[in-house]
């Protein structure tokens, strides 16, 4: 098992470096003026020259590759002199010290931005996934067990619509339904923002009297403060938790519908396949209760492919988070990433890409490992 994990970790390293490299180069060969994109169209040449020098944008991007006067040029003869003196090497050195850089636009460290905005996305994604799993798996099981029944056909029609409706259309439609049509009824839900006006979260550092804490520990503590639902519960601010939960219901449904539909379909087809296998017939022949055949023999085996799909859906969820956060006005990583890409804030794009890729790779690793625990055959290999 340990060897399996180590091998998986080693395989992910080139992928991570590849992502960092591609994003780094892509962000820098973009046509357009980084200085005026950040400082505004009316920035003078003198100001811009200072800006370019300050952020080291006049240096080679990678050995031999330059960008000057809006044009990308490759000088093969410059490779030896720029082998170590280029922006990529400088960036790697910075990364090695745990520094993700300082946002050009916000003039704040990327890590601070992350501590502020990542919790929103994490809470949203987890809620969406919980919604998808807790509704999708039972639907898929019922649908697979009662194959070709009305419940099955109904579930599959809903699942087909679920994968076909754009996240932003579903989000806006939900906001319209629960924010306007049902306004004044007990079913009304807030259609935007993370908390109602007037409701505020007292940070954990303040509640626990740890305001003098500095460094990485403080960062971790602030990150947990940002997870309003669990942080509110452990610090006794139940009204904040409840309010945050209510605000996240609609975004989580909007974001979770596609994974829900996919999970329901996979569970259904996987259960159908398992039910046709010999060990199920053996169990039935032995006189095992039908309930036990379905729940203990079939379902446990049918859920294996579902675990893989849940992992794969994470990348899709991050794409969806860009749209969901924008529709529901949530300041999360997805929206920050979108603003950074369109606003040419290289440093933020690079930093967030690295973090997103890391999360993605980690989740897939966890999925692979849990697969090993669930299926002894995988471990043996």
């Amino acid at each position: 098992m340990t060897r399996f994990i180590i091998r998986r970790l080693l395989v992910t390293i080139p992928v991570l470096i590849g992502i960092v490299f591609i994003v780094f180069v892509l962000a820098r060969v973009v046509p357009g003026d980084p200085c005026r994109a950040v400082l505004g169209e009316r920035a003078t040449d003198a100001v811009c020259d200072a800006f370019i020098t300050r952020y080291g944008l006049d240096k080679a991007i990678i050995p031999g590759l330059f960008k000057a006067n809006h044009a990308v040029a490759f000088h093969i003869e410059q490779i030896p002199t720029t082998l170590l003196d280029n922006q990529f090497v400088a960036y790697l050195g910075q990364l090695a010290q745990g520094d993700l850089g300082t946002s050009i636009k916000h003039s704040r460290p990327v890590t601070t931005l992350l501590i502020e905005r990542l919790p929103t996305t994490v809470e949203l994604t987890i809620m969406a996934m919980l919604f998808a799993v807790s509704v999708g798996i039972p639907l898929g099981l019922i649908s697979g067990y009662r194959h070709n029944s009305k419940a099955d056909v109904g579930t599959m029609v809903v699942a087909n619509f679920g994968v076909s409706i754009p996240v932003f259309v579903l989000g806006l439609a939900l906001a319209f339904l629960f924010g306007l049509v049902l306004k004044g009824t007990p079913f009304a839900l807030p259609p935007s923002a993370r908390l109602s006006t007037g409701v505020e979260m007292v940070p954990l550092a303040t509640v626990w009297g740890l305001e003098n804490l500095q460094g990485p520990l403080r960062g971790i503590l602030d990150f947990f403060s940002g997870l309003y639902i669990p942080a509110g519960i452990i610090s006794g601010q139940f009204n904040v938790s409840f309010d945050a939960f209510r605000h996240l219901i609609l975004p989580a449904i909007a974001l979770g519908t596609i994974p829900l539909a996919i999970i329901a379909r996979i569970t259904r087809s996987s259960l159908l396949e398992v039910l046709g296998q010999d060990f199920v017939r053996t169990a039935r022949a032995k006189g095992v209760k039908e309930r036990s055949v379905i729940l203990r023999h079939a379902t446990r085996n049918a859920l294996l492919p579902v675990v893989t799909v849940i992992g794969l859906q994470l990348g899709a969820l991050l794409s969806g988070a860009v749209l969901t956060e924008s529709v529901f006005n949530l300041a999360g990583v997805g929206r920050t990433m979108f603003e950074a890409i369109t606003g040419r804030d290289y440093v933020v794009v690079q930093g967030l890409t690295l973090i997103i890729a890391l999360i993605y790779v980690t989740v897939n690793l966890i999925v692979d490992i849990s697969y090993g625990f669930l299926d002894p055959r995988v471990r043996a290999r």
Partner: protein, 320 residues
């Protein structure tokens, strides 16, 4: 055709074995395939919806009531921006100008814009997938056939593409290349290349060692000839299924890119950008968001249903 051949054919198609041999139709791969596709309910529904959408796209100038680009302010008396649907035969007062789906924030006829939007979505969706299949097939075939280092390098490159959220990568590519619909199309194609590359590579890997390939080698067929004529035809079926589902995905992605506003000119009739432009009006004029939203959903649904039907019909492993 000799009688012996006819007997052989009749035996090859057991369904027709009860029919007198002399009148048995020769089996045709394409007709059989079409038959089994049309036996799938989802494929029939999908095909019907798709035919409707294609007709709408082709005959858009005939079906549309207005110019989709023209603001009717000062052109049509009594036009109100973001007015709801008004159809005279359904009881809308004759004093108001008729707009089947109402108007948008620029005094344009929403119905005509949605009708023309079918052209944009279908063309971009199909073009993006075609582009991705061509590149993906080349990469997958090379990786699978050569194996070794080229396989490793190409597939790790595909992993890098897959490890990144597709929409964010597409947004980054469009921002880098300049905001336009064509660049959005290319971006969507690039992010979907790995899907097709993997499909082709896996069929190449599984058929490379098959006996009929060894036979071709023994007959002296060139490596390229074996790849193109003997191995590649095996990946056509999975590619058709993936492509059909892929067009649905591409339509969703182009709508998302247009919604966030990276496809350039927003006056183009494109469903995603119609919604993106008026998203703040969801509480005042929901029809501007919901109608194009339904149009996107129907289009994606059509491709998904057809793709599911094709897979059930074409994939022998699923024949239960």
């Amino acid at each position: 055709m000799s009688t012996q051949e006819q007997i052989a054919l009749a035996e090859a198609t057991p369904v027709q074995a009860t029919v007198p041999i002399a009148t048995a139709r020769p089996a045709s791969l394409w007709r059989d395939t079409l038959g089994s596709v049309l036996r799938q309910r989802s494929a029939r529904v999908g095909l019907l919806m798709l035919t409707f959408l294609v007709l709408v796209a082709i005959f858009a100038p005939v079906i549309a009531t207005h110019d989709p680009y023209q603001s009717l302010l000062g052109v049509e008396p009594g036009v109100v921006k973001r007015s709801g649907p008004c159809i005279h035969v359904l009881g809308c007062p004759a004093s108001q100008p008729e707009h089947i789906f109402g108007t948008d924030g620029n005094f344009r006829d929403l119905y005509s814009r949605v009708v023309y939007g079918a052209r944009t979505s279908l063309t971009v969706g199909v073009a993006a997938v075609t582009f991705a299949i061509v590149i993906g097939t080349i990469i997958g075939a090379i990786a699978g056939y050569l194996g070794g280092t080229s396989d490793n390098v190409l597939m790790r490159l595909m992993d890098v593409l897959l490890a990144f959220p597709a929409l964010l990568l597409a947004i980054a590519i469009v921002t880098a290349a300049g905001r336009s619909l064509v660049n959005a199309l290319i971006a969507i194609a690039i992010v979907s290349i790995p899907v097709y590359a993997r499909i082709v590579r896996s069929t190449v890997l599984t058929t490379r060692e098959a006996d009929f390939v060894t036979a071709s080698k023994a007959l002296g067929e060139s490596g390229f000839g074996i790849l193109v004529r003997r191995i590649m035809p095996n990946s056509i079926t999975p590619l058709i299924v993936a492509a059909t589902l892929g067009v649905g995905g591409a339509v969703l992605e182009i709508a998302a890119l247009a919604f966030v506003g990276v496809t350039g000119d927003v006056s183009n009739p494109e469903w995603g950008s119609i919604i993106g432009l008026e998203r703040d009006q969801i509480f005042r004029a929901p029809h501007i968001i919901l109608i194009p939203g339904i149009a996107i959903t129907i289009t994606v649904l059509a491709f998904n249903l057809l793709g599911d039907g094709l897979r059930d019909a074409l994939d022998p492993r699923l024949n239960r």
